[in-house]
């Protein structure tokens, strides 16, 4: 990616030698540097860029750094946008971006993670930094606006953002304004005052106009700088100044039209022609101008125009690259389209050819599309897309593909397949099938031609050679995304048949997809083996970074197999691998700790489980994959559940819900079912039954692994609602299915529920048979919570088992876990209604100096939950404020007796 950065976009414009000093505005900019954001918002030609350039050149900012990014239409791709923004900062602070750039190029990174990393890097910057985003109105992409809003909100104090735009950006400006975090310079501020106009005409341009003439010009232009500049150019070397000004004042034509015509008329024919023809370019350099005009001397011409102040803006210090001032360029293009309509396409074609010779394909593609030269544009896109896909600029690629006529795409299998890949990566399944069929038409034994008789077109032979494998891989991914496991495996096999031995990425991808399909079908041993094999191949193909995070998938499979020790080993090995990489924390590390926490929770090591989650959190969002935000909250919810804080658990699950990300791993533990389990424990059986109805679950359902967790939950709901018989029938079938798939983890839970169901029927003997099987399966791996979560009835059953001599050592150990975390109040309280453990925790913190949000965060509950606890404490203590609650607690000696964890 760094190779394709256009350096001129990062150039800080130099101050023109002759400008009007504007201390009133520079001072305001300098004072604004302590705010977060400066917005320079005014229409075209109001001198926004010039003002910023001269302020930056003159303001005394010792050690202060300046980064500049000139935006254009092509930056409407979040990946491209942030890559450029980081590149701009790197021009003055090379250390910034090491982590964030890597994140941009990684798979599926949410933009907040990239920005989080970037903000950390900026935070570490020893110097002050001003980052200017010029021409921000070119940005239309909503995700970029959201990213900027996020960025502005979290900017470190020594970094200041300046946005120059023709339209107010869709940011929360009112809020920033109200907090004094926004400095604005608008059209009314930028207009030349009569004094500034006088300075400009008479000092800068040496036109020596009379006061009356100045007043007329200032009035007619209303201080619009572009118009004043054009007027000055029209006046230079003119004898009949008074007459010109009189004519100008008495005319109500669009002022720029009027003045540009005046200026153009006074240019020699070859200059005028040069200006019109090169107006199709958004950047100008001598050789490119020569190619477009089919003349020589472009470089000299540009320098002459620059000297004559003919609206050329320098883009570097070497007099190589320029652009026209935007407004002037627009007027030139309107003239060109009007005077030489037939020429426009040809000029774009010449520009495209020049860029192609320079191997700058994105610009070549842009001009080819403007020329309406779609066939050639498609050729170029076909050659360029692998590089773009690697740089993860799917939005740009999508823009090009959308600009090409469908008819033409359909004859190009490489592009049709690329299109399918872009759609799949954005999760848009609609259209994938059609694009893949378009590609497949040309891969069969007989070469068809389409309805118009057009044959197949292939430009990128390398891509075409590997196309059958790539299409089959996309087919497999599409089938898996739609939940069709048989087709997933079939297509993955085809991909393997097609892909040559050394095509590790296709082969590894296909194998991994087969592993995921096996997982979704509940065949866990095959899933584990196949997925691990696929990932090893992907690693051979050079994708090291993902390997660490993939451990989550492997560990999840191990947990379902009931192999907690293997799962833990998987995480430990991945952490080891990550620590061997050196340097920054490897992405996925945070996921490992969150995964380990779940294993520790199952062993009832709740403090260790909490510590692991805190470690995961401390590592920061950038060291976790996007899915970790969801998994972390689920893990925390289950710890709260284990500690008996069911409301807190529900809160966390609700918080997790919107963070769920669809990926190709099966969602084997849907969050709605997790919530239903908590409802059961809260004895809200009616609501839990509502959940089952809403999801159309019944004991008659065919069983499949993806719905196993929901069906076990249904059995729990039925048990709680007094339908033990129905529950038993379902549990018998579930047990059979789990045994068949080698899912020992599921079997243990099902057997535990069977034991409870039999106990309800009064069949103690059958209950103990089930329980003994569960204990035998669970003992080697050290499961605890799967028993303890079931409460006093399970404790009684275990005591009965112990009497019967079943796994006595293990059962004794399990029995010690009852009543510690889940159970008995830890103090005897002289209250009619005793405080719960959680309420005692809150009470202890109420006696400190922490405020509400701090207490909530210390206890890792939402503010709402904390308030509910507080209210309940007040009621039970018969008080109505915090101080009284603490005093009453001291009187009752509740605080001293609370053990600290």
């Amino acid at each position: 990616m760094p190779g394709s950065i256009i350096q001129t976009k990062l150039y800080v414009p130099r101050r023109r030698a002759a400008t009007v000093p504007r201390p009133r505005l520079s001072d305001r900019l300098s004072r604004g540097i302590d705010a977060r954001l400066t917005l320079v918002s005014a229409p075209a030609g109001f001198g926004k860029t010039t003002l910023l350039a001269s302020w930056l050149a003159s303001a005394p900012r010792p050690e202060g750094l300046t980064a500049w990014l000139s935006l254009d239409q092509s930056d409407n791709d979040p990946t491209a946008f942030w890559t450029y923004a980081i590149a701009a900062v790197q021009t003055v602070a090379p250390a910034v971006g090491t982590g964030s750039l890597a994140l941009i190029e990684a798979d599926q990174t949410p933009v907040e993670l990239v920005l989080g990393a970037l903000l950390n890097e900026l935070n570490a910057l020893p110097n002050d930094l001003v980052l200017v985003l010029d021409d921000y109105h070119a940005i239309k992409d909503r995700h970029i606006h959201e990213g900027i809003a996020f960025f502005v909100d979290r900017l470190p104090p020594h970094v200041h953002l300046v946005i120059a735009s023709r339209a107010d950006p869709p940011l929360p400006l009112a809020r920033l304004r109200a907090r004094g975090e926004l400095v604005e310079i608008r059209a009314a501020d930028l207009r030349f005052t009569p004094d500034e106009a006088a300075l400009y005409f008479n000092d800068v341009m040496a036109l020596d106009l009379a006061a009356g003439e100045l007043a007329i010009l200032a009035g007619r232009t209303e201080g619009w700088i572009a118009a004043l500049q054009l007027a000055a150019l029209s006046l230079q070397g003119r004898d009949n100044v008074a007459e010109f000004i009189k004519g100008f004042a008495g005319d109500d034509r669009y002022i720029v039209d009027y003045l540009v015509e005046e200026v153009l008329q006074r240019q020699p024919e070859h200059v005028r022609e040069f200006l019109l023809q090169t107006s199709v370019l958004n950047r100008l350099t001598g050789p490119l101008c020569d190619a477009v005009t089919e003349q020589d001397g472009g470089k000299a011409m540009l320098e002459a125009l620059d000297r004559a102040n003919l609206f050329l803006v320098a883009l570097d210090d070497r007099r190589q690259w320029y652009r026209y001032h935007h407004l002037f360029g627009d007027v030139l293009r309107a003239h060109l389209a009007n005077e030489q309509p037939d020429q426009v396409a040809e000029l774009h074609r010449r520009a495209s050819a020049w860029y192609e010779r320079k191997a700058e394909r994105p610009d070549a593609i842009r001009h080819a599309l403007s020329a309406g030269d779609f066939g050639h544009a498609a050729d170029l896109v076909e050659l360029e897309w692998p590089a773009l896909a690697r740089a993860r600029q799917e939005v740009t690629l999508r823009g090009w593909l959308d600009a090409l006529p469908d008819q033409l795409l359909r004859c190009r299998p490489v592009l049709s397949n690329a299109y399918a890949g872009v759609l799949l990566s954005s999760g848009e399944l609609e259209g994938v099938d059609q694009r893949l069929r378009d590609a497949e038409r040309w891969l069969g034994p007989s070469q068809p031609s389409d309805a118009q008789g057009a044959g197949m077109v292939v430009v990128n032979e390398d891509e075409f050679r590997t196309l059958p494998g790539s299409v089959a891989l996309h087919r497999a991914g599409y089938a898996l995304a739609r939940g069709n496991l048989v087709e997933t495996v079939n297509h993955a096999h085809r991909a393997l048949d097609f892909a040559p031995e050394d095509d590790h990425l296709t082969r590894g991808g296909a194998t991994a997809l087969m592993g995921l399909a096996a997982w979704a079908s509940g065949d866990l041993e095959t899933a584990y083996r196949t997925y691990a094999e696929g990932m090893a191949d992907v690693q051979r193909g050079g994708h090291i970074s993902g390997t660490v995070g993939r451990a989550v998938t492997l560990a999840d499979i191990r947990v379902a197999q009931g192999r907690l020790r293997d799962a833990m080993r998987t995480y430990e090995q991945a952490l080891q691998l990550a620590s061997e990489q050196g340097g920054a924390v490897v992405r996925g590390t945070a996921d490992m700790y969150a995964g380990m926490s779940e294993l520790q929770r199952e062993r009832n090591e709740l403090d260790a489980a909490t510590q692991s989650l805190l470690r995961s959190q401390e590592l920061g969002e950038q060291s976790g994959f996007a899915q970790n935000r969801y998994r972390w909250r689920v893990a925390m919810a289950r710890i709260h559940e284990a500690r008996g804080d069911l409301d807190g658990a529900l809160d966390l699950l609700s918080e997790a819900q919107p963070l769920f990300m669809i990926d190709l791993s099966p969602n084997v533990r849907p969050i709605a079912a997790m919530k239903a389990r908590i409802l059961v424990r809260q004895e809200r059986t009616g609501e839990a039954l509502g959940w089952a109805r809403e999801h159309g679950l019944s004991v008659e359902d065919d069983l499949s692994y993806v719905h196993e967790y929901e069906h076990i939950t249904l059995a729990r709901v039925l048990l709680a609602s007094g339908s033990a018989l129905e529950a038993s029938g379902l549990l018998d079938r579930l047990l059979q299915a789990a045994e068949h798939g080698g899912r020992t983890g599921s079997m243990i839970e099902i057997l535990v529920l069977q034991a409870l169901a039999n106990d309800v029927h009064g069949d103690m003997r059958a209950a103990l048979v089930s329980l003994e099987r569960a204990l035998t399966l669970a003992e080697p791996e050290g499961h605890v919570r799967v028993f303890v979560d079931e409460g006093p009835r399970m404790a009684a059953l275990l005591q009965a088992a112990a009497k019967g001599g079943i796994a006595p050592g293990y059962v004794q150990r399990l029995l010690t876990h009852f009543g510690t975390a889940a159970g008995e109040p830890r103090t005897r309280q002289n209250l009619i209604e005793p405080l719960s453990d959680r309420e005692l925790d809150v009470l202890r913190l109420l006696a400190t100096d922490l405020d509400g949000p701090e207490i909530a965060s210390q206890l890792m509950v939402s503010l709402n939950t904390m308030r509910t606890h507080t209210k309940s404490i007040y009621t039970k203590l018969g008080v109505n404020n915090r101080r009284a609650a603490v005093r009453r607690a001291e009187e009752l000696e509740l605080l001293s007796r609370i053990p600290t964890r």
């Binding site: 229409p43 075209a44 030609g45 109001f46 023709r166 039209d257 627009d330 309107a334």
Partner: protein, 74 residues
């Protein structure tokens, strides 16, 4: 009316804009009024196209006086 629907529109600008700009505004008709304003008339396919036109008005620095919807899309 669904939000994406187009229709005929009138866009009134301050100042007289030369007829050559009709192309720039995607073939809208362009009328110079006696009060010194210019009116662009034509149909747009949807709201996005309308906003595209308004963006072009903005890019020329022309003061916008009024935008009026004059009819449904045929």
């Amino acid at each position: 009316m669904p939000v994406n629907e187009g229709g005929s529109y009138e866009i009134r600008l301050k100042g007289h804009l030369a007829v050559r700009w009709a192309d720039w505004f995607d073939g809208l008709t362009l009328t110079q009024e006696s009060d010194g304003s210019t009116v662009l008339r034509g149909t747009v396919v949807d709201q996005a196209a309308l906003h595209g036109l308004l963006g072009k008005v903005r890019d020329l620095g022309l003061p916008l006086i009024a935008v009026r919807r004059t009819g449904e899309q045929p």
